[in-house]
Symmetry: C2
Subunit: 539 residues, 2 copies
């Protein structure tokens, strides 16, 4: 029997007119649902009954119930009462996550929510810690200083800047600065993007077999903005988004920030599990499927051509919009890349496609693009305008000229060769340093990542301090999972370090894994071996 | 007597499982409330009664009512029933505006809502048309071609690029490209912003008397992003935002897109009306006050020092967060600018302050910054990460060096002189071209805009075609109003055109105004003179 007075009275103690009573009741019940204190199908007291218990007006309780119902957390049924409806996975039913109360000083200071295991706050903190650590990793450049043993990082999903064509950029910048066209670099561009860049992108897309009209294209301030635009334009709280599990963590973060309920679908070496997807779609209405068909983040997996066709046919059958993130589409190492989903016949009105130069050229430009059906694009453009009016013009004008001169194609040829070599060296080093009882992995056909697994009772988080001691870093795989609680995976980026560093880094990783496994096997049985300790490297 | 079958049956005709019945009822009732078909305090039928009329399950109707109640559009009262609660101004109670349904092809195509006069769709279209026209205006560069009489535009809120220091930028870019620091221009920066730029901004803020800690500062991709971050981080649907009326239209657009209820507060030559503000705050809880105390857009007004103190004291009393947009703070022409609100003692935890280089240097950089209390900044940073990860690095690094070399200060000195001269020339031209019965205006102490008024029964929209015929453009003032229905105002930007163009443009405007007034006075009495025709120049 639930003690409602016990659950709700703390919330009612401090009367504060800026935090109305109905909202406190609502927030406290929501919290109790999310932290499991209230079980699924638990019956809430009738509003009249709860009002009597709490000595409140009935309408106050009714308003709290109405808002919980609107959030999909409870459900009223005539004659039977109000019930908790928390039936989905742990990410479901999470309300909008990035709203905070703000009403001058005191309220900002008084903010003091107790995070619970499934609460959005924890979710954000997980990402926040990770992003801080990633920033830290990126900052660590290999040094040749005496004595200091520099950490080798396979953690961050960023390209190597040593291949960046800085001379080309400098020369383009100088040419433009001296021409009357200079002004284009410094004025606003339209929300759709700078004209010359749009023309070059359309050309680039045509080369990938994509037929795109002008009113279907927008230039993005990086592809994170594309995710944001889709989320804010099309998602209402409670809408479902299907997502590969594991997937790009900032995407999950963004969709849930707009109140979406995540439907995680397992992904294997051949991409998303279509049987699982179809079964899920037949049971639940899903608005958007977010997917990386080529060189997926973090698994590196690629969907074969047959699966791509099948995916589109499922999406058409269930009328789910497919949001294709082709973030490393240009980085294929074993022959040419498979055509993106948007290149397939019949995909025009079904697929929102996006890509970026952040991985194949450099991230500091903040240049990406999105293709969407014209009707959807009208709305995306409005969201773009309220987001940042337009993308920075310097990058747009320089990149347009870089593409126009054919320099990007040349750059890609060299980059693919260099990255393929790094991938092969990392695979060879993994092959020679590990037994299959220690670490398993698969070789990706492109992109930036190798996805590796410790034995299934191990935790990459537990491995991290050992790795740090040896001077090597990676991204623990649990960060990327949306639904599954899997802790044995590591994501290794092979593009950021040179050949010698890769060999040395994998060598260090092997020592760390062996020390970790030995220490783990020695533990007294009974100690909870899968329990995650304080992730010191992330704090 | 309301015919409910008549109102609701069209919504129920086409059964479509992707658009559930409760949602259709909800949407149709919302529409009827917003377009005035249902009046304030109108009683809705009991859910049981309406269910019988429509031959639906009662729970379907109850869900529609619950969601309308959660949106604040209806209110249930025990024993009395459910009532429309649309009591606020026309922008109130507007639900989130930029969400759209998206579920593959067919749903995208089927989108077919009928916009009503107060619906968010119209609101968006108003802005959309305006933004298109602004893009058009910006594109029109004065030409010296033979015969062609080039249109002179006072419409757009963009700086003149003829003063842009392109040689300085080129030299900085070249210096960096050749140095090992080059990489900083092309890598990701942190969400907080590039280190050297942050240091320079802190220095710039100190010079304005602002004491800012490092964890209170973020670099923005332009100040539109600052508005977006505040809205998405702190606003929940139904929250109230107080705003100057008239104000920056993309701010209104953004706040309402996140479901805020706008509380318009009149603004005069000495800034926002504090009596009105206080009276409003005493009646209604307001989360954020968005304000431009210096050289306001569109009115050009500036709050005197005393009013600034008083405003802060009101905000503290009612615990309202003050969001100060100092977008043209550096552009003061009559002596030094008044200290921003954030420079006042006691403002640290009360004020979110932002500024930008888009008006004083150039908009294509997309560089702005925001200062907020550290606790709020943590949340703003999370929103920044999901929005675009980080601001483009090229602009950040170049601008940092530009500030470090002291070039921005020099640039401002020259720019202020040039713009002040243009302001004076426009004022002199207005003075000599118009009688006070034709056009009234006031001289701003800084910024970019002169706010002018036709006689009160006139409409700047009606004037537009006459102006276009004469070859001059301006922004019709009704675009900036949030609550008030005022149509006699024009916003004239004096920074975009040179002295000769300003004189010629005002001369043309005077001809247009006279022709318009003559034509208007001739009309048969009885014709509704204030009715707005099709705004042809905006389509």
């Amino acid at each position: 029997m639930v003690d409602w007075l016990d659950i709700l009275s703390p919330a009612l103690k401090a009367r504060d007119r800026r935090y109305p009573v109905y909202a406190r009741i609502k927030d406290r019940i929501r919290e109790s649902i999310l932290n499991g204190q209230l079980r699924d199908r638990e019956r809430l007291p009738a509003d009249r009954e709860l009002a009597t218990i709490l000595e409140l007006d009935r309408s106050t309780v009714a308003r709290a119930y109405a808002e919980l119902a609107a959030e999909g957390l409870v459900e009223s049924s005539v004659g039977r009462g109000t019930f908790v409806t928390r039936t989905e996975s742990s990410m479901d039913s999470v309300p909008r996550t990035d709203r905070a109360d703000l009403a001058g000083t005191s309220q900002l200071r008084r903010q003091d929510r107790t995070p619970t295991s499934t609460s959005p706050i924890i979710w954000h903190e997980k990402f926040s810690r990770f992003s801080e650590s990633v920033s830290g990793f990126i900052g660590k450049q290999p040094l040749a200083g005496p004595g200091a043993r520099q950490c080798i990082s396979f953690a961050a999903g960023v390209p190597s800047l040593e291949f960046f064509p800085q001379a080309d950029f400098e020369s383009i910048f100088a040419d433009f600065s001296r021409s009357p066209e200079c002004r284009r670099m410094f004025a606003y561009t339209s929300a759709e993007g700078e004209e010359s860049l749009r023309a070059e992108i359309l050309n680039h897309l045509r080369n990938q077999g994509m037929s795109v009209d002008e009113d279907e294209l927008i230039v993005l301030s990086g592809s994170q903005q594309g995710i944001d635009l889709v989320a804010r334009t099309f998602l209402d709280p409670g809408d479902s988004v299907a997502i590969e599990d594991p997937s790009y963590f900032w995407a999950t973060c963004n969709f849930t920030a707009f109140g979406a309920r995540m439907l995680p679908v397992p992904v294997s070496e051949t991409g998303i599990n279509l049987d699982f997807l179809e079964a899920a779609l037949s049971r639940r209405r899903v608005k958007i499927l977010y997917i990386m068909p080529s060189f997926q983040n973090p698994t590196g997996s690629t969907m074969p051509a047959e699966q791509r066709k099948e995916l589109l046919s499922i999406a058409a059958r269930y009328q789910v919009a497919v949001f294709e993130d082709n973030f490393v589409g240009d980085l294929s190492y074993d022959g040419s890349a498979l055509p993106p989903l948007r290149s397939h016949p019949g995909s025009r009105d079904l697929v929102i496609h996006q890509s970026t130069l952040s991985k194949s050229l450099c991230p500091g430009l903040r240049i990406g693009w999105m293709v969407a059906p014209a009707e959807a694009m009208k709305r995306l453009l409005q969201s773009k305008r309220v987001s940042d009016l337009s993308t920075n013009s310097i990058s747009q004008v320089i990149v347009a000229e870089y593409l126009r001169r054919g320099l990007y194609k040349e750059h890609l040829t060299g980059l693919r060769t260099a990255y393929a070599q790094r991938r092969d060296i990392m695979c060879a080093a993994l092959e020679s340093s590990f037994s299959s009882g220690e670490l398993r992995w698969s070789k990706p056909a492109g992109g930036m990542f190798i996805w590796a697994a410790l034995p299934s009772d191990c935790s990459a988080r537990e491995l991290l301090p050992y790795a740090e001691t040896e001077g090597v870093l990676f991204s623990p795989g649990d960060l990327f999972f949306v639904g599954a609680d899997r802790r044995e995976f590591l994501r290794l980026s092979f593009v950021q370090s040179n050949e010698a560093e890769i060999e040395e880094g994998i060598h260090r990783l092997a020592i760390a894994v062996r020390t970790y496994l030995t220490s783990k096997r020695k533990r007294i049985p009974g100690e909870p071996s899968r329990r995650i300790g304080s992730p010191s490297v992330f704090v």
